[in-house]
């Protein structure tokens, strides 16, 4: 493991991210649309699990920014590998594990920052988060970002087609988001939908986020952490394996 190379890869991606004005703008407009506009519109309609709908989806919107940002970061790997900067990294004398981990960390950091944009809306929609919970929330957001990024890296590593990517993102990102309990409560649902919800790592992430911000929980805290950590580890290992394959 080459830590210098890892940090360099991490740092470079961050520098690039902050030089991309258009994308930074997008990460602010998304929560605005969902929280303020949709949430306000729907709030008048109903309450969920004892809280207003806007509050209920707040943790889900954080997760939305996390998964979208994580996937967008990793998408660039497919292009970069054939035509872009990743070739410069791949011919360098550094272990493939450093490359994968560096990319995972930078994708997670970028996604984490985008998640923070949503968190900043908490006072606007009148959610009160105690300081202790806030300190828990930050590493939790990073963990979820890390899980999504590692998944993205595995998908990118296995994809050879550029066009197929848009399809994958629709068949993976959107279902993952909608089947995570972000937008509606996941108890008392038919078996078939419950099955996919429980398979989805984001579900456990959203559950933890909702537990910390609103004190609403579905699964045990240990199950949530375990599922997320194991999922991330497995994805990371597959990622390193794929990068080592050199095909």
């Amino acid at each position: 493991m080459d830590f210098d190379a890892l940090c360099m890869i991490w740092r470079r991606d961050l520098i690039r991210h902050f030089r991309d004005r258009v994308r930074l703008l997008g990460s602010v407009t998304r929560p605005v649309l969902w929280l303020l506009i949709m949430g306000t519109g729907l709030r008048a309609a109903f309450n969920v699990a004892g809280v207003s709908y806007t509050h209920f989806i707040f943790p889900g919107i954080i997760a939305m920014n996390l998964i979208f940002a994580a996937m967008i970061s990793t998408i660039s790997i497919i292009w970069d590998r054939e035509f872009g900067f990743l070739r410069e990294i791949l011919v360098a004398p550094i272990p493939r594990s450093s490359i994968v981990l560096g990319k995972a960390l930078s994708g997670s950091t970028v996604a984490f920052i985008e998640g923070l944009f949503v968190l900043a809306f908490a006072p606007v929609i009148k959610i009160n988060i105690p300081l202790v919970h806030l300190l828990l929330l930050l590493p939790l957001m990073f963990l979820i970002a890390f899980v999504c990024t590692s998944l993205g890296i595995v998908i990118a590593a296995r994809m050879t087609s550029f066009e197929g990517f848009g399809v994958i993102s629709n068949f993976i990102i959107m279902p993952m988001f909608f089947l995570s309990g972000a937008m509606f409560p996941i108890d008392n649902l038919p078996h078939w939908i419950s099955f996919f919800i429980r398979l989805n790592p984001l579900t456990y992430g959203v559950d933890l986020l909702r537990r910390v911000t609103l004190d609403i929980k579905v699964f045990s805290i240990y199950i949530d952490f375990l599922y997320l950590s194991v999922f991330a580890l497995v994805m990371l290992s597959i990622g390193v394996f794929e990068f080592n394959k050199r095909n």
């Binding site: 210098d4 470079r12 520098i15 410069e88 990294i89 011919v91 360098a92 004398p93």
Partner: protein, 266 residues
């Protein structure tokens, strides 16, 4: 074996059904300027990718600077520099930042790194532009920056994949003069591919690959004598035929073509 830089023995590479490289063997001596020529789709890029450790061979072996590309990839990577056909610079970083990144992942220590960056930038005449974002660079400037970058870690072999494609005559001349002086001064081995046959004349030896097989190998003079023609262009056409190839462009080639056209418009 001491003066051999690259040794390729019975190398083959197949992708699903396609045999891209078919049992090729050749060697390149140290300090040699070696030209690897062939029509599109002949197997040039695949061969270079194998030599640069980006691809694993299906069978056979490739030894670069004494190291097997399969078993000692990092040792190979340390000792070679590559300039790809499609530029691999980071457009959002400055010239300096690009070189610094390179120095870092090639383990050049900070003190030496700074000096080395200055040296290579001066060598290609880009020192004054070191803090400019690469996006603002012309095609010729980018190519020069890539050459500077490829040389930063003082490699023993420099791989150049179509180094002057898309550049104007002045820049082409400048880059070639530079490559030649490099070869003489630093005794670097140069392995290049090109479609410009007048450039290939400068090589000490050329290998022509077609349909995955080496169909010709030797010095430009020897080849011209063998086929009784006066230019490498004629040799090439003799060996690979005068007919235009029926080529389907797969997705990757289409995208590659699009990028190169876009780059030319800068």
């Amino acid at each position: 074996m001491d003066n051999i830089a690259i040794s390729v023995n019975n190398l083959s590479k197949s992708f699903s059904q396609v045999l891209a490289v078919d049992n090729i063997s050749f060697s390149v001596e140290k300090s040699e300027i070696f030209g690897f020529l062939g029509p599109n789709g002949a197997g040039k890029t695949t061969t270079i990718n194998i030599l640069c450790t980006l691809l694993l061979p299906t069978s056979g072996e490739a030894i670069v600077n004494g190291f097997n590309v399969v078993t000692y990839p990092n040792e190979v990577r340390e000792s070679i520099g590559i300039i790809f056909q499609d530029p691999s610079l980071d457009e959002r970083l400055t010239a300096y930042e690009n070189l610094n990144f390179h120095g870092m992942i090639y383990h050049i220590v900070p003190q030496i790194r700074k000096t080395r960056i200055q040296e290579v930038l001066n060598m290609v005449g880009l020192y004054l532009k070191k803090d400019h974002i690469v996006r603002t660079f012309s095609g010729g400037m980018r190519r020069r920056l890539e050459i500077a970058r490829g040389l930063m870690h003082s490699p023993q072999i420099l791989f150049l994949d179509e180094p002057t494609i898309g550049l104007d005559p002045q820049t082409r001349q400048h880059i070639w003069d530079y490559i030649l002086s490099l070869s003489q001064r630093e005794k670097i081995t140069i392995f290049l591919t090109t479609h410009y046959m007048d450039e290939a004349e400068i090589c000490q030896r050329v290998g022509i690959i077609d349909h995955g097989k080496i169909v010709s190998l030797g010095s430009p003079l020897a080849l011209k004598n063998k086929y009784k023609v006066s230019s490498l262009n004629e040799v090439f056409l003799e060996v690979t035929g005068r007919d235009i190839r029926e080529e389907g462009a797969d997705e990757k080639e289409r995208l590659g073509g699009f990028i190169r056209a876009r780059n030319k418009l800068r």
